[in-house]
Amino acid sequence: MSEAKETTYRKAVGKAIDDAMKKDERVFLAGEDVGRYGGSYAVSMGLLEKYGPERIVDTPLCESGFTGMGIGAAMNGMRPIIEIMTVNFSLLALDQIVNNASHLLHMSGGQFNVPLVIRMATGAGKQLAAQHSHSLEGWYAHIPGIKVLTPATVQDAHDMVHLALADPDPVIIFENALLYNNKGTLDTSLEPLPIGKANVEREGKDMTIFAYGINLFKALEAAETLAKEGIEAEVVDLRSLRPLDDETIVASVKKTHRVLIVDEGWRSGSISAEIMARINEQAFFELDAPMYRVCTEEVPIPYPRHLEQAAIPTPDKIVAAAKKMMEES
């Protein structure tokens, strides 16, 4: 029976955490201002009152310390959700994420798995300037041993918390900060689409736009515009940047033969570059045009709105790239 409800991305994440904590005593949420403040993005609002300070843990400003703490707790039988306020601060926890969380199982010869969930806000677009506008999810996807999720829809915002908690290994969830107010349908009766599966959000025959996170919506908007001009773009929500769903990616390439990737990260060494490489490896002879991508300009994100918008992917840029590609082929 369907239990579809209209809700926001923020509430969908909050509900998932709430439900998980209700179900499993091993689950706790820790991070800066997750408790008394209610979460810097208000995701955990009200949970402190429900579960108390031992399970909704306000941490000091010590990203490495509390992320490492989460790893230790996970190794010792708990199911921590570590909230790093934003991806920008996660750089202070890189040692723990890369050297420990992602390496431990392999390095210990299969003895210590780390069932840790790390959530962090990501992305530019709110005029927060260079140090608060990073999109490093593609960067994290470089690291074997962790999984990298980028929920775009309200459904995924909810489902991915559960998927991550059910996973025996470290999972990082990147929540684009601009999505928290997004409204959408959440149906908790649905079986979540597993980690590592991409989703075709819009079908098309002329080209495929691969996107994740907030860019899914920019891509869908672009596809609408393109449709008016007779270009039928398929839009695929990647959902998971590690593992990448090669199967779906290749299947769509085989269908449309043209590829446009929208990447919130910087171009060089980006996830879009990785996707292109995989298509090259696995579907080269399906390509009927050079692959295109729309990435963030390779500059620190500036504060003024017009410069910020000029730096990040926009529907206009996606449309322009799509048209250019179609003209070429």
């Binding site: 002879f285 390509l287 009927d288 070429e328 082929s329």
Partner: protein, 394 residues
């Protein structure tokens, strides 16, 4: 001194691949010698030189596709100074793309300090078809020749181009030749205002004369009726030269030489109309030998470039297919095509008697810009007269 350039071997030819040089630097060549094999949409064609001399320098590279008009070799004629040659060669060199002139030559003006680890991939000079990976895959699956397709597709070849080419290939006897014919005929139909004339010609006198002539000859020296007709057309054209020539740059140009293009069907389908060059200088026997040679070389694909570029008129004979009358389409830039149907037994009025005679329908399609019906009619009547007095054909 002359510069041998990539020849245009057809109105539709934009470029050709220099398949093979038949000469090397220092070789003496005389006008008409085969200098190179050029690969075109019509196949490999032996290209001649049009001026004799010594091959001074070869600049065109084998296997490379060059646009028509690209200098390929410098040929020095007798008594030319060293300086003139040098000047000409250096001019050609400077015309070459920058990457070629940069390569290998040591600059004397400035010595550049080499950069550590600055090795760069050498740019390939060989031509490579620009096709998408999918197009390549589909071409392989569908048996489409990308090299050939590349000659008609602008930009890069995509899957669509391959699919379309494959679809066309399903039409019987399709090939590049068909495409070339299609292009030429479309052009003709679009540009040339044709007029058509037809006249029945009593062939009995000519055929009987030919029969008695052949009876006195060995089999290999015998003359075919087709030769008789060609010779007759050439003779008629000598009297009506307006039909022998071209429509060029908005005006008629009469050709001194008569090079009738003879429509020859290819075994694999398609049609070529190679010329019997200078047919007006030949007697009947020479015409017969020339025709024999032309057919043989056409079928073995050894035509000379002049033969497929220098036709001044076209003669087509569809009698062997039982066709009664041919309404031809002129090959631009020619201005006329002469057609013959089947030779039939017909009731023929001679004086006041009716007799059975061998009759052929001779037709003429003329370019109304160059000539009008009167000229055409005059031509047909000359043709008729010649055939009524066959001994003149010798």
């Amino acid at each position: 001194m002359s510069i041998y350039k990539m020849p245009s071997l057809g109105a539709d030819m934009e470029s050709g691949v220099l398949a093979e040089w038949k000469v090397k630097e220092g070789d003496k060549v005389k006008k008409g010698d085969i200098i190179a094999d050029i690969e075109t949409s019509k196949g490999v064609i032996e290209a001649e030189v049009y001026e004799g001399g010594t091959v001074e320098k070869i600049v065109g590279k084998e296997g490379v596709e060059y646009p028509v008009g690209t200098p390929l070799a410098v040929i020095r004629t007798e008594g030319e100074s060293e300086e003139e040659i040098e000047k000409e060669i250096s001019q050609i060199e400077s015309e070459k793309p920058a990457k070629q002139s940069e390569k290998g030559e040591t600059g004397v003006s400035e010595v550049q300090k080499p950069t550590a680890g600055a090795k760069r991939p050498q740019e390939e000079e060989t031509h490579r078809v620009r096709a998408t990976p999918l197009a390549r895959k589909r071409a392989k699956e569908l048996g489409v020749d990308l090299e050939k397709l590349a000659q008609t597709v602008k930009g890069k070849i995509s899957e669509k181009d391959v699919e379309e080419a494959a679809k066309k290939a399903k039409v019987p006897s399709f090939d590049k030749m068909r495409l070339a014919i299609a292009a030429a005929m479309s052009k003709s139909n679009a540009e040339i205002p044709h007029y058509y004339l037809s006249t029945p010609i009593n062939m009995t006198p000519a055929l009987e004369w030919l029969k008695s002539l052949n009876e006195q000859r060995s089999i290999k020296d015998r003359i075919l009726p087709a030769t008789v007709m060609i010779r007759a057309v050439v003779m008629a054209l000598q009297e009506v030269p307006e039909l022998n020539g071209f429509w060029k740059d908005g005006g008629p140009v009469v050709s001194e030489a008569i090079n009738p293009g003879i429509a020859i069907a290819m075994r694999k389908g398609g049609l070529v109309t190679p010329a019997i060059i200078d047919a007006h200088k030949m007697n009947l026997d020479e015409t017969m030998r020339a025709l024999h040679d032309l057919i043989g070389r056409t079928r073995s694909g050894k035509l000379r470039s002049s033969e497929i570029t220098q036709q001044t008129v076209t003669i087509t004979n569809l009698g062997d297919l039982g066709v009664e009358k041919v309404f031809g389409v002129i090959y631009p830039p020619q201005v006329a095509i002469v057609g013959f149907g089947r030779i039939m037994d017909m009731a023929w009025v001679e004086g006041d008697a009716i007799a059975v005679r061998k009759v052929v329908q001779a037709t003429l399609a003329g370019d109304h810009r160059a000539t009008d019906g009167r000229t055409g009619g005059f031509f047909l009547s000359k043709l008729d007269k010649i055939l009524q007095n066959p001994e003149r054909l010798l």
